[in-house]
């Protein structure tokens, strides 16, 4: 038995393998469907030439390609410059997949009686497709946000600002370097200068919930304690220099004594590399935030969890992306919380 044991086991193993289900012959999508000849089978077209978004109209865009490839469709307001973008890689996207209800990705907003055109570009091919012009007869009503953190319209609101070194600007502005606000008349700017080996932190602004709401309450009054159902939203302006990163931080007063103690109480952050030009609407759920990783700055949470009902302040930090140097900046406008889904103006 001794000498033959290994043989028996080997035979058993081979039989086990032979008895196993065999894999199918092809894994994943067909390569020919991605790297075959690229052709436009049907041009880009919208489902209508006018849209009354106030009445709930939805425009469906459609095109048909010979292969799957990465594409971007941008609906551009020809007067306002507003943009709504869609990305995908389908070759025959069904009408339901590219449905536009008048919302924006990049501010400002689309305007009444504005002509719009959809432009389709491809990551790997130089072709560009344009749809016929669409006229917006009525714009989509701007939905209400559930909690407005700040529209940065006030010139006297006591923002708590702080900086490290070569700060250039930290406050609200009507028109900063030729940039108009995304909403109304003012927006907030964080700007600073940094060297290649300097600290990544440039400057920041802290806004307590009490000042934000203008009431005596220390904390935002959310209708739910579920972090996955609460979305933070803001228009973020990028100057396209790929140097800035915005860290949005939510400070939780874990012991509810009315004072945030960074060494003992948790702070949850969401970091956004600013790699675009223009006003982009950024939204994320509170569940997507991560606890601060900075020792003594919110990395210890007394309750050990995210507590929406203890958010005592929101903080906005301008960080430099690693390996960069020089001036960089970011704009913020119309920061808000919404329930269940991101803000979709």
């Amino acid at each position: 038995m001794n000498k033959n044991t290994f043989l028996y086991i080997s035979i058993l193993a081979l039989f086990t393998m032979a008895g196993c289900k065999k894999d199918s012959k092809v894994e994943g999508p067909e390569l020919v469907d991605i790297f075959g000849d690229f052709q436009i089978m049907e041009p880009l077209k919208g489902s209508a030439s006018t849209a009354d978004f106030a009445a709930g109209d939805v425009i469906y865009y459609h095109a048909k390609l010979s292969i799957r490839t990465n594409w971007t469709v941008e609906v551009i307001g020809l007067n306002s410059g507003a943009r709504k973008t869609f990305t995908g890689n389908d070759k025959d996207f069904s009408l339901n997949q590219l449905a536009w209800n008048g919302t924006i990705t990049f501010a400002p907003f689309f305007r009444k009686n504005e002509p719009c055109v959809a432009r389709m570009t491809f990551a790997n091919y130089p072709d560009t497709l344009y749809s016929d012009t669409l006229t917006i007869t009525a714009v989509r009503p701007t939905p209400e946000v559930d909690i407005l953190i700040d529209d940065f319209e006030s010139t006297i609101k006591p923002y708590n600002t702080f900086t490290e070194g070569q700060q250039a600007f930290n406050g609200t502005s009507v028109n900063y370097q030729g940039v108009s606000p995304a909403e109304k008349t003012r927006f907030y700017v964080l700007a600073g200068n940094h060297g290649p080996t300097a600290s990544l932190f440039l400057c920041g602004m802290n806004l307590t919930s009490k000042i934000s709401m203008g009431t005596e309450e220390n904390y935002y009054q959310f209708a739910t304690d579920n972090p996955s159902k609460v979305y933070f939203n803001a228009f973020i302006y990028g100057w396209g220099d790929n140097k800035a990163e915005l860290s949005i931080e939510f400070q939780e007063d874990d012991n509810k004594d009315g004072v945030y103690q960074p060494a003992e109480e948790g702070a949850y952050t969401y970091r956004i590399p600013i790699n675009w030009t223009g006003w982009k609407l950024v939204s994320f759920s509170y569940a997507d935030t991560k606890i601060s990783t900075s020792g003594g700055f919110g990395n210890v949470d007394r309750t050990g969890k995210k507590d929406l009902d203890r958010i005592i302040a929101t903080q906005y930090l301008l960080l430099a992306q690693a390996g960069t140097s020089g001036n960089t900046k970011v704009g913020i406008d119309f920061a808000s919380f919404t329930y269940n889904s991101p803000f979709q103006p």
Binding site: V26, G295, S325
Partner: protein, 573 residues
């Protein structure tokens, strides 16, 4: 059957027994390190790149202080604290202080060994195993301290993953049929819940190993990764991944030869429960069988093995990768005026621990085909079948000469996006020569050389499914002892890759959803020169000059050189 309980002397817990036998109740140990890299960027890149700083200085100093505390003969507590300071952290701003390691271990009932707290977990290459990363084989000795630092900081140990939890093991001796039975169990926490949408994830494992007839070892290993239901109140999703593995090995003494027969086979299951519209993941199986033969003097060795791992085989504990290409390098993380992420080079793989990962991943993470395309997830790489042969020879004085050659041929089992299958060939040669042994010189003069050629082919239509990718690595190292303890070291590593591949994009369920075309016409050269002062076996100072040249002919304007002066002082005590 008369069974006699005994404690086993197998596995990693053999250390505490020795420690427990010591007299002192408390002793101290630790490590200290200082690392400084002063780098300069040059090359064609800087003609067009006006944003990347030309010079960068990075580094840190750290000190680990560890305690072994033995409150009684059967209990030991180990704790290591770390204080580290970045080179750019002035006036304490860059200081971090934390507990690096903490566990308690000991004996219960004088029979059961246990450990709670931090654990180094390892089973077999298909169940729970930390496969080596790219470029790990036969590196010149000039790089060994960098490798030791990465392995120490990331707790890689001997192919183990650092986890937190509890383990226990015990052994039984028998007087009939089975000589010895060893049983081990572990449970560790793999992921922390956020209490809302991300549940806790645990890893449980068990090993049963029986030795019989003095020569035969039979084993069963099980790993089970599962999400804990109701640990996140707004998520019903539950990921489960189980791997069953059966192993056998037998040592046979032939005429003047030692023959070791080895086999392991098993099966995996994976599922996502409580989520709508999830795909059904088929079970996957694997088989690994082979032998190793050497003479009694161990001056030559030959081994061969056959391996088949099905496409659907999933083992979170064995398919997680060390090198994570999505991380940013410590030096020059971005380049070009577009501030693109700088591609990983051999300099980073060998010296930058920022790329090294410590966490088990449920998904198959991306890899760089130019560095490793045949077995990017180690032996447990899915969708592979083939075999390998290894030959080794050395003189009876092992310091004099060692020669070896490895050859491997693998195929895919399932085509990716086509019915045509990839085939892989890999050939390696290495030599270690102690020249001073040859002429009986007193001063060490060692030369090491290694060459690897890896080839991936797939027939098909040009530009659609045809693949031809070749990569070659050459490593050379020379160390010369100038005076006792002081060595002059030079090394060169060359990597050349050319051809095309397709990199699969996978969704959260590991299904391939898209492919990205990958092309390479890459030449990387890393040259090193410096000195090493070896204060003692565990204490050295390295002063080195590195020159890294990265030249991708597909991006000719991005060619660059990094000239780096590196200081590394390392001490373990």
């Amino acid at each position: 059957m008369k069974a006699i309980f005994t404690y086993s002397i197998l596995g990693f817990l053999c250390l505490p027994l020795g420690v427990l036998a010591q007299d002192k109740k408390v002793d101290f140990f630790g490590s200290g390190r200082f690392s400084l890299n002063n780098s300069n960027l040059s090359g064609k890149l800087i003609e067009t790149d006006t944003t990347t700083a030309r010079k960068q200085m990075t580094g840190y100093s750290l000190f680990d202080l560890g305690f072994h505390i033995r409150p009684n003969e059967e209990t030991e507590i180990k704790a290591i604290t770390r204080v580290s300071n970045d080179i750019n952290g002035f006036w304490g701003a860059g200081i971090t202080f934390y507990l690096r390691e903490l566990y308690l271990r000991g004996l219960m009932f004088k029979r059961i060994r246990y450990q709670v707290g931090d654990l180094n977990t390892k089973m077999t290459p298909y169940t729970l195993y930390n496969p080596e990363g790219e470029l790990y084989k036969n590196n010149p000795l000039a790089f060994n301290t960098f490798t030791e630092v990465i392995n120490y900081d990331k707790f890689y140990g001997t192919n183990s993953w650092r986890q937190q939890g509890a383990t226990a093991d015990m052994g039984f001796d028998f007087d009939k049929l089975i000589d010895h039975l060893h049983v081990k169990g572990l449970i560790t926490k793999n992921r922390q819940t956020d209490y809302f949408s991300t549940p806790d994830r645990l890893l449980a494992g068990a090993t049963v190993e029986a030795k019989a007839f003095k020569q035969l070892t039979l084993s069963y290993n099980l790993t089970s990764v599962f999400d804990v239901k109701q640990s996140a109140m707004f998520s019903d999703a539950q990921f489960k991944n189980k791997v069953h593995s059966f192993g056998a090995s037998e040592k046979i003494a032939l005429a003047g030869l030692d023959l070791n027969l080895l086999a392991e086979f098993g099966k995996s299951t994976a599922s996502y429960e409580g989520v709508a519209n999830v795909p059904t993941i088929p079970d996957g199986s694997f088989l690994d069988a082979g032998f190793a033969l050497n003479n009694k003097l161990n001056t030559w060795q030959i081994s061969a093995s056959y391996r088949s791992v099905e496409t659907s085989f999933r083992s979170m504990g064995a398919q997680s990768r060390r090198v994570d290409y999505s991380n940013l390098s410590t030096e020059y993380p971005y380049y070009t005026n577009r501030e693109s992420q700088r591609p990983v080079t051999i300099l980073e793989v060998l010296t930058d621990e920022a790329y090294y990962n410590m966490f088990l991943s449920p998904g198959l993470k991306n890899y760089n085909p130019a560095y490793e395309n045949m077995l990017p997830y180690g032996k447990a790489t899915p969708n592979r079948q083939g075999g390998e042969v290894k030959l080794g020879w050395n003189t009876s004085n092992k310091q004099l000469l060692k020669l070896g050659a490895d050859a491997a041929v693998y195929n895919e089992i399932t085509g990716q996006g086509t019915t045509n299958l990839r085939s892989f060939t890999n050939i390696e040669f290495y030599a270690d020569l102690g020249l001073n042994e040859l002429y009986k010189g007193k001063k060490k003069l060692h030369v090491g050389a290694y060459m690897r050629n890896q080839n991936t082919q797939r027939s098909g239509n040009e530009g659609i499914d045809k693949i031809s990718l070749k990569s070659t690595q050459v490593k050379l190292g020379v160390e010369y002892e100038i005076i006792p303890k002081l060595e002059f070291q030079v090394a060169a590593i060359l990597l050349q890759a050319s051809g095309n591949e397709y990199i699969a994009e996978r969704n959260g369920y590991n299904e391939i959803t898209f492919y990205n075309a990958f092309k390479a016409d890459l030449n990387e050269t890393l040259l090193l020169g410096g000195i090493n002062y070896q204060f003692s076996k565990n204490n050295c100072l390295k002063l080195q000059f590195h020159q890294m040249n990265w030249d991708n002919q597909l991006l000719p304007n991005n060619q660059y050189k990094i000239n780096r002066f590196a200081v590394l002082y390392n001490l373990f005590f």
